[in-house]
Amino acid sequence: MFFLLPLIPVIGAAITSAEIISGIVTAVGVGATIKGAVDYHDAKKKETEALEHYELKKSKVNNEVKRVQTSLEKFGSQKLTAYNGVLRQSVNILIEYKNVHLSKLKNGTAGKVQYLNKDMRDFFDVYNKDTDRISMLSKKLNSGVNKINASLDLQRLGAFGMSGSMLNNSISLLTQSISFAVGGSRAKDKAQKVASAVRIERERMEETITLCRNLRKRIAEGSSVLNRLSNDMTHVMEDLAQDQESSAQESSIEKLLLLSKTMKRVIDIDICTTEGVLLEKAGLLYTEVNKGDSV
């Protein structure tokens, strides 16, 4: 038995090393697995939240674009109402007055009435042929959401398409645990990239919303101008109906002619064309309907 004594430390050392190694392996393996699982969970949560925020903002942009479209359509209707209402009424009065009192009109006034009348006739000819006149006047605004989707190019930012595993194809349990931990880290990389892309895109979409709101202000401004001009024309027509003296009638006719011409010029301006820069900056697209028929 004595001859075995020198082996004791060797056996002890062998057991201790084995235990230490297996302990380290187990600890590292368990630690890596837990870390990987936590990272996967955090990454998934972060990515999901980011995409939810993105969808929410996209829906706000959609709503804002719809509001602009509705405003444009209402404005188009308002233009048509003005054309068919106060402007047509005014032109009829001017023509009637010209036919009855041609000699009383100032030099050139008869020609201006004639020109305006022809201009109006051309408009109504086209209008009668075109049932989609509102679109022609207001233009159809397409939602810019497709463009917004395209601009959220997550692949361009490297959010997807991660390369294969960094580690080789060893199948040891520890290596699998490490691979899992590395996978968790990669998931966090991807989540961070998605979150970054979404954060930036949300800011860009906020700008689109701001620009849409300002486009609506511009439409509201146009609507206000039309209303005020319509009111002034109505007052002048009322005054004309009451004017007894020919000099007062002549003055009213001149004023009505000037107002009618301005009204028609204002109606003919298309806000979408005038504010092309704004639409471009907002990433909005609009189609020009029957532009060839535009007055």
């Binding site: 084995a18 590292v28 970054s196 300002n214 301005t262 005038t274």
Partner: protein, 133 residues
């Protein structure tokens, strides 16, 4: 007895193969740690760059809002002035002033409310391009 245990796998043999296995495992753990640290640094850097771009975009939007508010304020005042002038001229029957007021209203209406906005955007786009994500 030891040999039995070694053979049965209960005790790892203290030979060269153990050293190699341990070394290999430690190497993997070390590579994993390095990768993890690198990933952490990259994520932090990306977060910083994102915040920088977001901050630029927010400033740009603020400038756009201020620009537009000023523009609309100016236009509102001008419209108000022109319409007052028009209404007075219509009352007094001054056709020439009516013509001038209407022409001014038309010009204001036909001018883009966003004229100059592209210059503002352009300046910010230049800065935006400097910070790449």
């Amino acid at each position: 007895m030891i040999n039995d245990e070694v053979n049965s796998g209960m005790v790892l043999p203290l030979d060269e193969s153990i050293d190699q296995n341990v070394f290999s495992l430690l190497k993997e753990v070390s590579a994993c740690y390095e990768y993890y640290q690198k990933g952490e640094s990259e994520r932090t850097a990306l977060a910083c760059r994102t915040e920088a771009v977001v901050s630029l975009l927010q400033n740009r939007r603020k400038i756009l809002i201020d620009f537009m508010n000023n523009k609309y304020g100016e236009r509102k005042q001008l419209y108000s002035g022109y319409f007052q002038l028009l209404e007075k001229a219509l009352e007094t029957g001054n056709d020439q002033v009516v013509e001038v007021a209407l022409e001014s209203i038309y010009r204001l209406y036909s001018d883009s409310a966003f004229e100059g906005i592209d210059i503002v955007c352009e300046q910010y786009d230049k800065i935006d391009k400097v910070i790449k994500i």
